[in-house]
Subunit: 549 residues, 2 copies
Amino acid sequence: MSHRYSLGLDFGTESARVLVVDIKDGRIAGQAAQAYAHGVIDQTLPTSGEKLPPDYALQHPQDWLDSLAAAAHAAIREARIDANSVIGIGVDFTSCTMLPVKADSTPLCLTPEFKNVPLAWPKLWKHHGAKAETQRINDIARERKEKWLARYGGTIGLEWFFPKMLETLAHAPSVYAAAEVFLEAGDWLVWQLVDGPFPRCAAGNLTRSTCQAGYKAMWNAKTGYPSRDYLKAINPRFADVVADKLPGMLRSPGRQAGVLSESSAALLHLRPGIPVSTTIIDAHSGVPGAGVASPSTMVMVLGTSSCHMLNSRIEQFAPGIAGVVEDGILPGYFGYETGQASVGDAFAWLVQTFGLSHETLSREAEKLAPGSGGVLAIDWFNGCRTPLMDANLSGAFVGLTLSTKPAQLYRALIEATAFGLRWIVEALQESGVPVRRFVASGGLPNKNPLLMQIYADVLNERITLAESDQSVALGAAILGCLAAGSEVTGYAHMSQAIHAMARQREDLSYRPDLRSRKAYEQIYPLYRTLCHCDGATANVMRQLRELTS
Amino acid sequence: MSHRYSLGLDFGTESARVLVVDIKDGRIAGQAAQAYAHGVIDQTLPTSGEKLPPDYALQHPQDWLDSLAAAAHAAIREARIDANSVIGIGVDFTSCTMLPVKADSTPLCLTPEFKNVPLAWPKLWKHHGAKAETQRINDIARERKEKWLARYGGTIGLEWFFPKMLETLAHAPSVYAAAEVFLEAGDWLVWQLVDGPFPRCAAGNLTRSTCQAGYKAMWNAKTGYPSRDYLKAINPRFADVVADKLPGMLRSPGRQAGVLSESSAALLHLRPGIPVSTTIIDAHSGVPGAGVASPSTMVMVLGTSSCHMLNSRIEQFAPGIAGVVEDGILPGYFGYETGQASVGDAFAWLVQTFGLSHETLSREAEKLAPGSGGVLAIDWFNGCRTPLMDANLSGAFVGLTLSTKPAQLYRALIEATAFGLRWIVEALQESGVPVRRFVASGGLPNKNPLLMQIYADVLNERITLAESDQSVALGAAILGCLAAGSEVTGYAHMSQAIHAMARQREDLSYRPDLRSRKAYEQIYPLYRTLCHCDGATANVMRQLRELTS
């Protein structure tokens, strides 16, 4: 049988990437990336040149289509494959990146009426304009003791979907009124593939991902979106936002959203009718992309920040989790997302702020014993995500003496992120969610063996490494394969496809060292003492933030 | 009337300095310093070449006499004065620098029998060989609830007199047995001047300073040295150490210990019969040297570490003070010594560890508002002296973010030392010891105006600066003038002499800035919370030290 391929379309913050992946073994036959022409729009609006407020981060929807087409052409050309051998397409996208559109999917920012209104443009995930709105959404939810709040560790994030809609209602009411649909960019992109491109689409053919909706829009398979009463309590004009502006059928990633439309097929130089998977958030795509199909395996995406994902048969509300969502990562499981807001960027802070060298620090840090010669760090340089979910916390070093060396601070930072990870694992387990295996992916594992060894020692667990350094885009391709269906692919079960197309490295894994593990058993409680949610350190951090910001 | 002069003999860690000072106005007519030939002996013994343990720091007694003679000749030559116009001599010395001698004042280390035994040599103040002995001295004192312990804030220091004697008993019993007198180097030096040099001296003519004895040897004007019962409980062979090995008459600094002997006059090229003051600890000499004669004025000697001295009419036991000693600094007052173990050397740590520039940091730090942009430091880089008296505490930074700059750490360190000082002042005041005025001396005040302004803002007090940058040696000269007596000098009262010979700067003082002061009123409580003696941070620091040392 000739080779068949799935495309993984990976929409990042700066560019779109296309992977052509052999569904038999996950081999990458071709790949290409294309930067967005407008990149991140955070200075001036491209149409009017208007200066944007400092919290703004927008994107241009046409960039997504243009970069996709260019990258797809190049990847397929590199792969030298017959376009007819592509049997599925999967899409991952940053989230919550969202936009207001008309019922035919035309972005409002591309209409003459709204092209000069910043809030008519897609808001990138890191757009931070909705501070007051987030506060109100949380306050009212707590007041009303909304049950769904527990699924998000008790706090709705500034970057999420409802805060971003409410911001538009508050600051650009005409945009809000004209928006017939608010949706995630990933959902919009899939809609374009199966029904478009715009303005051909019909709202009736819109599929939304349970991943994006579940993690970012407080949607739940059993109870749907937040209630009208709750939304009305926030703002009477917000009461009917769900009924009025959130049409669409919800499906899990890996389920077919539709098949490639004729126009979109022409755009991508592919045949029409190829199954397209419902979209997934980029980080979550790394779970199948790391070759993980089974529950209770934590996939740790380690980078500037870290995101730890887990599928489980059990639904529990753990403190400070970013979310627990049924069918949120893979169909049939409750998907847990937890996170550490600052990991690689804390190391980079140390290196850059003091003009040091990663290599030298790493070499020196490796010679130190667990405990970094008496220095203990707190890794909250960008606040604490899981489990405390508190952006007002900050980083710290304790145990400094006149002979403390930079390498001690560096190792202490690594150890602190390891302690923070162990805390997350314990919080899940104490909530009744088992965590049994650990797979690392992302930028850090292959770059920083010291970090990996410390993580294994602190967790007292073996850690394996995702084989592919493209696990996010590879995960999207796997979802494309799943969307094609078992009759086409021959994979009877989801897990068969995942294990065939993605694996962990066999040549390298990290196992706990007995002596280090014992040392960390003694130091970890000190980290927990220092990091106590209502402890002196955390309270001082919060008050400092209040007094000096 | 022709000019008359007092000599200030200042024995530091590395050299002896001689000041020739006009007693009319404190003008320095001449000065010279001479390094000790053997410096600090911490590697090998000069006689045998034997390698010394890492905790050892010894000196050579002949160095003191040789450097004194050379510096005195040069200073008098520079001053171009008639040797007959010298009317008094004062001596300050590092402490507790101590040595075992024979009854005729001959140092044991200069005898053939003991020249090769390290513990027969003078132990410099920073000799740290007596760790176990200090522990035992404290343990037994606490067990027996010795009343005098409260005068030292509850803890006897590793560098003090009894630990150093007990170390000799434990580790060099033959030296201990042969020692007819143990004494402070300052006392030995004065003894040489008035009765020597050795081997001419008689134990009957030995004067000991109430300053050295009071601060370093648990001596008290009313109760004397610790009791025989206590010393026996430490070690039966230590029971009679006071009766057997601590002869001498106790006198306050500024009181005459005797007059210059013929041989010593010849050594210094001076006339015999010049009154010589009882010695004083170098730091304490800075009180008269800063022009401070009155009670309730804190003299802050700000340097690598800081020492804050205060005379008071009131005797109270404040927590963590280095000591309260009657006649300890000036006759007629209770002298308080308090300290911060790490000040300038914490700033130097930051600068040197990260290869930064003091000038750049200082310039950037000056632009920051109180609170260092949200960074709070703990200044215990060398443990906490007053008020917690705990060497196992350590430094910390809290409030770090990904945008924290080195200048924020620098300013936070300065602010932390200011908060630490305010804590000391409050501890004294809460114990019933008033502190009304503040005079700064030492190396930092003229070098670091930002620090001075922050201290004024945090204390909410005006701070004046000692006029002389030689306040320690100047203080010794003032004591020499006092020892000469009012009939010779014309100064009816001690305060007249002090105010005539030393002053504070009139051109410069630091006053609290209203806005900064208000900001610090809010931040200081956060420092206190973080620094709570039994708080999480302090406990974590202690456990970290235990686990990793």
